[in-house]
């Protein structure tokens, strides 16, 4: 190369000034690393293969979500919300729309409530499939990865038939949903769930009692209950330590109060517990989806409230009031009354909360996302320190750190 070499800037500063021991080595893992999902850097001090201490750096996917939100109307920022936890994008949509609806005092229709619950559980399925597929692939189990990703692909195509997109849907709307179910959607859903059960049983057979898998995951990445609570862990991470904390049961929202489901809880707080909790939660989600498909009432999808719902296109073209309403909603955004609100949903990672502050206009004053992945990264060093270097890979996979949510 002819260009003179110039030094490349270092975006982080390690907290390790000096090594703990004379003969320990400081190693940089990531951020462009398959195990850390491309966006987390772990600076680890090693004694041979054992990690003495680690310094975890997030932020490599900080895309300025909150700042973007302050520049868009309440409706226009739904695509940004989607891309927070991009593996279960619908749950982000519904949590955000739920927060705005709470602040506006809008009550969604019964059909919308049940459909949002069904799609939330569908997203939970997709998220757990992705987490397990990636985690198992990183341990070398390519077959399990291919099985799980194949089922996930059927689900992506199925959701694309409903929403128009495979991965990031932008399907939630303030006061309802973008569109209703197409004909035959629930039939196809039942077909996919049957195929899911077939393939999951194969993955169970390959992995559950596999000696190598148990050796790599049992008693690895252990976190105690006290530490988990102190470090703000929620969701699967907290349930793996034995605390039966699930927002769907504790503070029910949407239609969860009417559903019959169990909350799987672990015993040791290690990687194997988290793997098994996710497998069981997927089965519970399938059970919930089947119940919801039976319970789904007829009726409108969007609430009939002109503060947030767009009028019918026919009316927009013929009536002046609808035209003005449509124009105001698009240009100014729905006027959310001044105030603040915090609404949390149980995302596959944990408590996903939206704290929104409004000053009465159509654009938000502040939209803050309480991201479970970010909080889990705060305590990840407890699970990694003292273990082997190779244990970082399954531990990280079982935390299910999603970069878009962690760094926002």
């Amino acid at each position: 190369m002819d260009a003179p070499h110039r030094p490349i800037a270092n975006p982080v500063r390690s907290i390790f000034e000096q090594t703990l021991r004379e003969d320990s080595v400081v190693v940089n893992i990531g951020p462009s690393h398959p195990a850390t999902h491309g966006t987390v850097q772990i600076i680890a001090e090693l004694d041979g293969e054992r990690v003495l201490r680690s310094d975890i750096h997030c932020g490599y996917l900080h895309r300025g979500f909150e700042k973007e939100c302050e520049d868009h109307t309440w409706h226009n920022l739904i695509p940004y919300v989607d891309r927070l936890n991009y593996v279960s994008a619908l749950i982000n949509d519904f949590a955000y729309c739920g927060a705005v609806e709470e602040l506006m005092g809008v009550q969604i229709t019964p059909r919308c409530r049940y459909l949002r619950t069904l799609l939330s559980e569908y997203s939970r399925l997709v998220d757990h499939l992705t987490c397990l597929a990636a985690g198992l692939m990183e341990l070398g189990a390519m077959t399990a990865f291919l099985y799980l990703v194949m089922i996930r692909d059927f689900m992506y195509e199925h959701l694309a038939a409903l929403t128009g997109a495979r991965v990031t849907y932008t399907y939630g709307r303030i006061g309802g949903l973008a569109r209703d179910l197409p004909a035959g959607w629930l039939t196809r859903m039942e077909e996919i769930l049957n195929q899911y059960e077939d393939f999951i049983s194969r993955v169970h057979a390959l992995v559950d009692r596999n000696r190598i898998f148990i050796d790599r995951m049992r008693n690895v990445g252990v976190i105690s209950t006290a530490n988990a609570l102190s470090y703000g862990y929620t969701g699967v991470m907290l349930r793996s330590t034995g605390v039966p904390h699930d927002l769907r049961k504790d503070t029910p929202y949407l239609a969860y109060a009417e559903l019959d489901f169990d909350v799987p809880v672990g015993i040791k707080g290690d990687n194997y517990d988290r793997y098994f909790i996710r497998m069981r939660e997927m089965d519970e989600s399938v059970y919930m989806m089947r119940q919801l498909a039976q319970m789904l009432p007829d009726g409108p999808i969007n609430v009939d409230d002109r503060r947030c719902t767009f009028p019918e296109k026919q009316l927009v073209y013929t009536e002046i009031e609808s035209l003005i309403n449509h124009f105001k909603l698009v240009m100014d955004g729905p006027a959310v009354p001044a105030g603040e609100c915090y609404v949390a949903h149980e995302s596959p990672n944990g408590e996903l909360g939206f704290y929104i502050v409004s000053t009465g206009s159509g654009t938000p004053y502040k939209v803050h996302c309480r991201a479970p992945s970010f909080v889990h990264m705060g305590g990840a060093h407890l699970m990694i320190d003292g273990g082997q270097l190779a244990d970082i890979v399954p531990t990280f996979g079982s935390i299910n750190m999603i970069g878009g949510e962690c760094d926002r």
Partner: protein
């Protein structure tokens, strides 16, 4: 700033018919071999990772094109697939990985965030990776459907097949 893998041949060189016939045949052979044995380095960051996983598995399967086997070391890879948003914090890492790759190397910008910053036009996101490294193929989409990715890979294969591959010196 960065020399491309295909330097423009100056007019003074275009004289010897037999030699040019030989280099063309050689280029076709090397191009055919290189286009069907792409080793990607998946520089994966964000949501496009989901479609990257989907395109590597059935039914889309980049393995049919010889482009499935990822090498997670830049020394062993020849296609840098930048999948997802690259932020300003990540840009030095991207540059470092690109510089560590050996020639011949190609860069694919997978998704609109890698192409132009996507809809993140703010202080944090890099407005397109071609601000720091040269890009060979851009695949738009947020995220792009797997068929679009395969179309992009096939266009890249045509580009590789049609380019000059200098293996001995700057003439052959």
């Amino acid at each position: 700033m960065y020399a491309r893998t295909v330097p423009i041949v100056p007019a003074s060189r275009q004289k010897d018919g037999a030699f040019e016939y030989l280099t063309t045949r050689k280029d076709e052979l090397i191009g055919w071999a290189r286009k069907f044995s792409i080793f990607p380095y998946p520089f994966v960051t964000a949501c496009c990772a989901m479609e990257f996983m989907a395109v590597s598995a059935s039914p889309y399967d980049t393995d049919r094109f010889g482009a499935a086997l990822p090498r997670f070391s830049p020394r062993q890879a020849d296609l840098l697939m930048v999948v997802g948003t690259v932020t300003h914090k990540q840009a030095p890492i991207l540059l470092k990985v690109y510089e560590q790759m050996c020639e011949p190397k190609w860069v694919m910008a997978f998704g609109v965030c890698a192409t132009s910053g996507g809809f993140y036009q703010n202080y944090a996101a890099l407005p397109g990776i071609d601000k720091v490294i040269p890009v060979d193929i851009y695949i738009p989409g947020c995220p792009p459907r797997p068929e679009m990715v395969i179309d992009g890979i096939m266009q890249l294969q045509e580009k590789i097949a049609g380019s000059r591959h200098l293996i001995v010196n700057d003439r052959f």
